[in-house]
Amino acid sequence: MLGRGTSIAMSIVARKHRRRRLNHRGTHRARALLQPWDLAPRGGRTYQRVRRTVLALSLFTVVATPFLAARFLDRAWPAGLIVGATGSARVLGIELVDPLLSAAVWLARGARPGLLAAALPVLLLVIVLGRFFCGWLCPYLPLLALSHSVRWALGKLGVPLLDLRLPGWLRFAVLGTVLAGSAALGVQLAALVYPPALLARTAYRLAFGLGVGGGATVLAAVWLFDTTISRAGFCRSICPGGALFSLLGAASPVRVRRVESRCTDCTVCDVVCNLGQRPMSDLVDAGCDRCGRCVAVCPTRALSLSLDGRPP
C-alpha cells in the first residue's frame, strides 16, 4: 500500500510523455494531488468549497451549542434556532432524530410514530441522495481531514503507516451487531461507537466543565485508527451510521458517472476516494458518500455527479 502513491505518480509521468493530450493544466493538478497534504482537492470546484464550509459549520455547531447552552440553556442560538445535539435536535422549529438511533430504539422497544416522524426529514434526503450525510454533514469529517494531514506529514517524516483495507461488508456486520446487540442487551449501543454522538458528548462534557470523559477516548481511538492503521477506515468499513445510510440510500438516483472517452485511466479518482470506491472502473456502489472529491480532482473532467437517466 505504501508504494502505491509513488507508482501512480510514475505512471502519470509516463503517460504524460506518451500522450500529449494529458499535458495540460489538469495533469499538473493531478500530479500535485499525489503529494498534497491530504489528497484533498486543492481549489476544487465551487461545490467542494460549499461542502467544506458546510462541514466546518457542522462541527462548529456541534461544539458551540453545548457551550452556549451551558450559559443560556435552550436559548443558545438566537430564538432557539438550534437546540440539541447530533442525536436529537430542533432545527428551525423542526424536531429531528438521528435515523440510526431512531432505528435502534425501534428495534429495542417496538414502533414509535413520533420517532419515525423525527427521523423522516433525514431519511427522505438519504433515500434521494444516498449516503450523503457521510460526505456533507458528518461533524467528524473535519477531524478526518486533519487525520489525512497528519498522515501525510508522518509519511513525509518516514513514519511507516498502515493502510489496512478492511472488507466492505464489515460495516454491515457492525450495524447488525449494534442494532441486535442494543435490543438483546437492553442498552442503546449506537451512541457509544457512532462518531457524531461521541463528538456531541465530548463537547457537552467540556462545555459543562465535567472533564473529557470516555466518549473522547473512543473518538481518539477512532481517529488514531484512521490516521495510523487505515485511511478513513472507520468511515469506510466500520461506522454503523454509514452502513445504515448505504442500505437506505441504495436506490438513490444520484451517482458518480464517467465519460469513458474523456477518461485517461490516471487513477487519481480511485486514490482520492476515502471510501474505497473506484470511479475509474465504474465500480461505485452504495458506499459512495457523494462527496464529489473524485469529480473535483479529475484532471480531464471525465467524472460528474448526476441523476440516473440523464446523460452525464
Binding site: T65, P66, A69, L73, D74, A76, V83, G84, A85, T86, G87, S88, A89, E95, V97, D98, L101, S102, A104, V105, A108, R109, R112, G114, L115, A118, L164, L166, P167, L170, A173, T177, G181, S182, A183, L185, G186, V187, Q188, L189, A190, A191, L192, A197, A200, R201, Y204, R205, F208, L210, G211, V212, G213, G214, G215, T217, V218
Partner: protein
C-alpha cells in the same frame, strides 16, 4: 487482517460488552419521568437534550467508556432537581415520560429515588438543635417529610417523596444526613 482474525476480534468485543452488562452495576438516579430501570436504558439514545435544558445542571453523563456512558443520571449530591419537568418535554424517545409541571401530577408520577436519613448526623435526631430545613424546602410537604417530637425531627415517608433532592441539598454542610438513593437500592439507615 484475515477473516478469522476479524471474527475473533468481533467475538472479543462482544464478550467484553456482555461482561460489562450494566444490569450488574448498582442502579443510579435517573431524571424525573424516567422509565423503570431496564426499560430506560433500552429507550435512551444519549442525545443530551435533557442535560442541555436542566436549569440546575443536576442531569449529568458518566465519564467512563462503559455501557452506561450514554445515559443521564442525577447528581443530587451536587445539585437538586427543581421538578421543572423541562427534561421530560424535550426527550425525543419517551425514555423520560412527559409529565406536566403540576404538583399533583408530579406527586403521583415522579419517583426519582427514596430518601435515606442518617439519624446520627441529623441535627434534631442527634439532639444538636432544631433545624427543619428539609421540611422547609420539601415541595411535597408533610406527605413526604413530617416533623416529629419536641425538636421537630424529620420523619421521611418514601411513599410520598418524589426524590427531587432539595432536602439533600438544603441539609446543613456539617450534617449532610439525607441521601436520595435509587428506589431499587437496598436502603441503609432508617427512614
Amino acid at each position: 487482517m484475515n477473516r478469522r482474525g476479524m471474527i475473533g476480534l468481533a467475538a472479543g468485543v462482544l464478550a467484553g460488552l456482555f461482561a460489562r452488562r450494566p444490569g450488574a452495576a448498582a442502579p443510579v438516579l435517573r431524571p424525573p419521568g424516567a422509565l423503570p430501570p431496564g426499560e430506560f436504558e433500552r429507550a435512551c439514545i444519549g442525545c443530551l437534550r435533557c442535560a442541555e435544558v436542566c436549569p440546575t445542571r443536576a442531569i449529568r453523563f458518566p465519564g467512563g467508556t462503559g455501557l452506561d456512558a450514554g445515559h443521564p443520571f442525577l447528581a443530587l449530591r451536587e445539585a437538586a432537581c427543581v421538578l421543572c419537568m423541562a427534561c421530560t418535554e424535550v426527550c425525543p424517545t419517551g425514555a423520560l415520560a412527559r409529565i406536566p409541571a403540576q404538583l399533583e401530577r408530579i406527586a403521583t408520577e415522579v419517583r426519582i429515588g427514596v430518601p435515606v436519613l442518617d439519624r446520627k448526623s441529623c441535627l434534631p435526631w442527634s439532639g444538636q438543635g432544631v433545624c427543619r430545613l428539609c421540611a422547609y424546602v420539601c415541595p411535597m410537604g408533610p406527605r413526604a417529610v413530617e416533623l416529629v417530637g419536641p425538636q421537630q425531627a424529620p420523619l421521611f415517608h418514601a411513599a410520598g417523596c418524589v426524590g427531587c433532592g432539595l432536602c439533600e441539598e438544603a441539609c446543613p454542610e456539617d450534617a449532610r444526613a439525607i441521601r436520595i438513593v435509587p428506589a431499587g437500592a437496598a436502603a441503609g439507615g432508617s427512614p
